[in-house]
């Protein structure tokens, strides 16, 4: 059984009303298939607008796919959304909180939703935050007074309170300083080691992808271009007589997609 299994998953968005003549339909995710093994860290790379977050939203039951099937821990997401929700949590780029409430109030709200008594687990929650480099005295500070990086750390802690078997991390380190990035990265490794958590990770940080991911999927314009270990991908694009060790992920990405990872995605509008 796989932790995550996607089969021919597609999602389009349209703007304007269906009767409107110049209504545009945009294929955000186009027949994507892949599997993530249990305990694997699976990286999803792609330029802006290539469909990574859309895919993650479908895995999180927040967006219904137009076609295709998704299974999480063997459970079909369309048939058992509630059981799937029990298995997952997500960290999004934009840490969403009740900004007027304190970090603790936000976390205890989340904990309760997952059947966890916040009061009895306060120490444990504080421990997670400390591991992420956020001191305990920050817990009672209101979210709006926190820097973006601190908010992101609270968001990561929130996703981990219930220790879900599947973690969806949508650019968890974007906007963090180098030290915080390192802290988050080593925390992700630790979580995976201790709990055999299966992790789907998107990032624009090539070094992070190289460091964390067992396998990497390259997305471009809603389609999955290649999937494989760093070595497999490297061998695919290696030119004759080229030194393997000088070929970084950034260049591999460019050769696979014909685009720079930093490029704004072309709109693939039909």
């Amino acid at each position: 059984m796989f932790a995550i299994e996607c089969h021919e998953v597609s999602k389009s968005f349209s703007d304007g009303f269906w009767w409107s003549k110049n209504r545009k339909v945009l294929k955000a995710v186009d027949k994507v298939s892949f599997q993530v093994a249990k305990g694997e860290v699976f990286g999803l790379l792609g330029t802006n607008g290539s469909g990574k977050s859309t895919l993650i939203r479908m895995l999180s039951t927040l967006l219904l796919p137009d076609s295709g099937t998704i299974r999480i821990m063997g459970l079909n997401i369309a048939e058992h959304p509630m059981a799937v929700r029990e298995q997952i949590n997500r960290v999004s780029v934009e840490a969403a909180f009740f900004k007027k409430l304190s970090a603790w109030e936000n976390l205890s709200y989340s904990a309760r939703l997952y059947g966890i008594h916040p009061g009895r687990n306060r120490e444990r929650i504080a421990e997670i935050l400390k591991r992420l480099g956020l001191p305990e005295n920050k817990l009672d500070e209101s979210i709006e007074d926190m820097s973006r990086g601190m908010q992101q750390k609270v968001a990561i802690a929130r996703a981990l309170i219930a220790v879900p078997p599947v973690l969806l991390l949508d650019e968890p380190t974007t906007g963090l300083d180098p030290v915080s990035k390192r802290e988050v990265r080593s925390f992700i490794k630790e979580v995976r080691q201790d709990h055999a958590t299966s992790i789907l990770l998107t990032t624009h940080d090539m070094q992070e992808a190289e460091d964390l991911c067992d396998r990497i999927a390259v997305m471009s314009d809603g389609r999955l271009v290649q999937v494989g270990t760093l070595d497999t991908l490297r061998n695919l694009v290696l030119k004759p007589a080229e030194d393997k060790n000088t070929l970084g992920l950034e260049e591999i990405f460019f050769r696979l997609t014909g685009k720079s990872i930093y490029e704004e995605g072309m709109s693939h509008v039909s």
Binding site: T61, L64, M82, F98, K100
Partner: protein
């Protein structure tokens, strides 16, 4: 490294989640305590203004029932109570849409009934509390109470009415789900219709006949009728039971209907990708 003791899925777990919503709404309320007081003050002023309509008519020589002041006050209070339930429910959705937490809430392993039940429980408690404070303020202001009032009966009716109001609130809550910018304001339209047809400041018989039909299907009509009988005429609990029964029956229609409509709207939002704010 760490482990968590999670409750098993089931009734206890859902009850626990109801608490999450009540606590969250309470915390948000606490954060705006100053504003709460300002708005409470405004509600008192507003209710007084309406009460003075009756006083003014007496001064102008119209022969009116002395109970008329409280007839209007009860209308204003009930209108306020209904409004609070509506706004608390729809604001809870609007708020989550603004903050972006709606995705977090919608991907949690809890039933929608639990989510909305939690929000509604808070709305009803909060509405009752505010209504009682305003009633006390008004009675103090006029220095006269309700000598015949049967408060237990009034609570019975309010409790039964809350259930139907919650059903209507759920229907109103789909508006901010679909549009956080305009949806919240649009709930005023539903309220306005209820205000018009339910006999809040005048007997239903004052309406043209074709509108009276709508009064029959508005729970507010029965709620007002019951509360007025309890507070002004001192109707006993057993006399009020039929009215309470109608309200409960209505809630048996409105709550499932509200949940059903909310579910449809949620599915539509998930298909069209409306839940996302950014990222």
């Amino acid at each position: 490294m760490f482990h968590s003791r999670r409750l098993k899925i089931g009734g206890m777990r859902e009850l626990y989640a109801v608490m999450a919503f009540v606590e969250r709404q309470f915390n948000l309320c606490k954060r705006y305590l100053g504003w709460e007081i300002v708005f409470l003050f405004y509600t008192v002023i507003n209710t007084l203004t309406i009460a003075f309509i009756a006083v003014g008519m007496q001064k102008q020589g119209h022969a009116i029932n002395p109970d008329y002041v409280f007839y209007l006050v009860i209308g204003a209070l009930m209108w306020g109570f209904l409004g609070i339930i509506f706004h608390e429910i729809s604001n809870s959705i609007t708020w989550e849409r603004w903050e972006g937490t709606i995705e977090q809430t919608f991907m949690a392993p809890i039933q929608r009934l639990t989510h909305l039940g939690g929000v509604c429980s808070f709305a009803v408690l909060y509405g009752l509390l505010r209504t009682i404070i305003v009633l006390v303020a008004i009675t103090c202001f006029f220095g006269m109470g309700l000598p015949k009032a049967n408060y237990a009966g009034a609570f019975l009716i309010l409790g039964a009415a809350s259930l139907s109001f919650v059903g209507l609130g759920l229907m109103a809550a789909i508006l901010p789900l679909l549009s956080p910018e305009k949806g919240s304001q649009a709930t005023h339209i539903m309220e306005g219709v209820l205000l018009l047809v339910s006999g809040i400041y005048y007997p239903v018989t004052a309406l043209p006949e074709w509108l009276q039909g709508f009064a029959v299907i508005s729970p507010a009509t029965y709620a007002l009728d019951g509360v007025r009988k309890a507070l002004l005429e001192g109707a006993t609990v057993s006399e009020l039971l039929p009215t309470a029964a109608i309200l409960v029956l209505m809630s048996l229609v409105f709550i499932p209907l509200g949940l059903g409509i909310f579910h449809l709207a949620e599915t539509y939002a998930k298909r069209a990708g409306l839940l996302k704010r950014n990222g």
